[in-house]
Amino acid sequence: MVGAHRLGTRIVRLYIPLAVCMVLMLFPFYWMLITSIKPNRELYSQKVMPLIVHQPTLKHYYDLLSETNFITWTYNTLLVAVVTTVVSLILGTMMAYPLARLKFPGAAVVAIGVAATYLVPQPLLFIPMADIINRLDLGNTLTAVMLTYPTLLIPFCAWLLMGYFKSVPRELEEAARIDGASRFQAMARVVLPLCTPGLLSAGIFAFTLAQNEFLYALIFLAKSDVRTVPVGAITELIRGDVFYWGQLMAAALLGSVPVAIIYSFFVDYYVAGLTAGSVKT
């Protein structure tokens, strides 16, 4: 009887709320999936029960890949995300290391500057930035977004990595220095390898942020062949009042796949990066 009672509490306190959470959080993805494989006669019928697919089809995927620039958009998105993540990780590391471990004049000012640039949101900057990119004649080039995304990613990487760098014991570095290692060697061979989890967290987080970016891409990339997936989908699969729902859903689903794959491999590092700011400090 005790066992049954325990199971009862467990159902009420764990399984039911958990199921509610999962359904609420995941329903839009289920909806994306089944909408993308429904034929138009099911999509645009109020009589057919919409919660399941009756005659699945890959037509929307076929149309998306053959009639739009989706493959180019995907390539652009990934190229920009990889380049900006690598650049931001390198520059972020170079900033975080001295800020976290060395004493030098101006350290406090730079640290506050990094925090401020991390928190000052992009919406304050996008209008002047649009004018600057115009004057640099970089409109409709991927260079425009490659230059601007790191403004979001570098402060984030530096901020996150400072916490990791601080956690490495000073003695390890000092021992290497006594053995004749230069400052650079002490950093590259002692501290950085110990902070691999932090570097992974920052890199994965930066990669997802770069994939998620929309405002700069929307403003700077007005030609189809330079667009990223979010901008391409929202501008070219909706024409005037016509929404290509099947293709929109296919694009949304395929566009999420790269992030989801990276995320599934490194989910623990992602969670560590997410919670580092709030839990560690």
Binding site: M94, I127, A130, S182, D268
Partner: protein
């Protein structure tokens, strides 16, 4: 000419007191600044400069591709006399306040549920975080279809279960459109709160609960007197981060409603975008964006002070 090992011909090495590149790099200050320079210069050029240039733009009448005309505070005065601007202000504060409350409560609930031990917890956590990691525009596309006036699945469910006779025009009605963007923002933000709070809950030692239970504390008391004090700093930090980013939200509103119908869901950023980009009035747009600054500065100072105190 005799060619031999160079060292043979040289006198014994003397310590070179001049600044060779290697020696400079060994100085703490020089090394630090050489490392910092690329990042600092980049951020000065692409964050600090645009920021001040934006203030300069906001003081100009500046159509796209034309020279600007200095107009002082005229743009801000125009905004202050524009009923739409005040509607935008009210919309933004309502949007931020309501979503924050829901995200905080929802996130706390999710964290408490997830803090029990069960098989497959890590996998569940990975799935529950999906709304937060999938690019916002792409998941909002799914929500656009969920709120479609004719084929909304919410309407289908409500009509077929007999709750209402006729479906709602979710994005066509001023109140419902606001409800819709609040729902989507809450949905996307709950996992961030939930997983962060969960990480905090997991730092609480079970001994504390046992001790409290032995002292006769009820479940409620254990929550308010053991759990809450420990996770309070996390709640505050997560909430402040989230408020700052919700305040500056663009994607969800832009995709779902474009600020409509009739500005009913227009928030600061979509409004600045409409003025600066769609209408091409860079000066007005920059001014509209800058009106967010006082509230943001207060939030950022508050957060910085709190982080320092911790």
């Amino acid at each position: 000419m005799a060619v031999g090992p160079a060292s043979v011909a040289r006198p014994a090495p003397v310590v070179d007191r001049r600044a060779s590149p290697r020696r400079v790099l060994e100085r703490e200050g020089a090394f630090s600044w050489i490392m910092l320079a690329p990042g600092v210069l980049f951020l000065l050029a692409f964050v600090a400069y645009p920021f001040f240039y934006g203030i300069y733009l906001s003081l100009q009448d500046r159509p796209v591709a034309k020279p600007g005309l200095f107009v002082g505070l005229a743009n801000f005065i125009n905004l202050a006399h524009d009923a739409v601007f005040w509607q935008v202000t009210r919309n933004t504060f309502l949007y931020v306040a309501v979503t924050t409350v829901f995200k905080l409560l929802g996130g706390l609930a999710m964290a408490l549920v997830m803090n029990q031990t069960f098989r497959g917890r890590n996998l569940t956590r990975a799935f529950l975080l999906l709304p937060f990691i999938v690019p916002t525009i792409l998941s909002t596309i799914a929500w656009m279809w969920i709120f479609d006036p004719t084929f909304s699945v919410i309407n289908w469910t409500l009509v077929n279960t007999g709750v209402v006779a006729k479906g709602f025009s979710w994005l066509g009605n001023a109140t419902l459109a606001m409800v819709a963007i609040i729902i989507v923002n809450t949905w996307r933000g709950i996992p961030f709160y939930g997983i962060s709070i969960l990480a905090g809950l997991q730092t609480i030692s079970p001994d504390l609960y046992e001790a409290a239970a032995i002292d006769g504390a009820s479940i409620n008391q254990r929550f308010w007197y053991v759990t809450m004090p420990i996770i309070k700093p996390i709640l505050i930090i997560v909430t402040m981060f989230s408020v700052i980013f919700t305040f500056a939200d663009f994607q969800i509103v832009y995709a779902l409603t474009h600020g409509g119908p009739a500005n009913a869901t227009q928030v600061f950023v979509t409004y600045a975008y409409d003025l600066g980009m769609s209408a091409g009035q860079l000066g007005m747009g920059a001014a509209a964006a800058l009106t967010m600054l006082p509230a943001l500065v207060l939030l950022i100072i508050g957060l910085t002070l709190y982080l320092r105190r911790e």
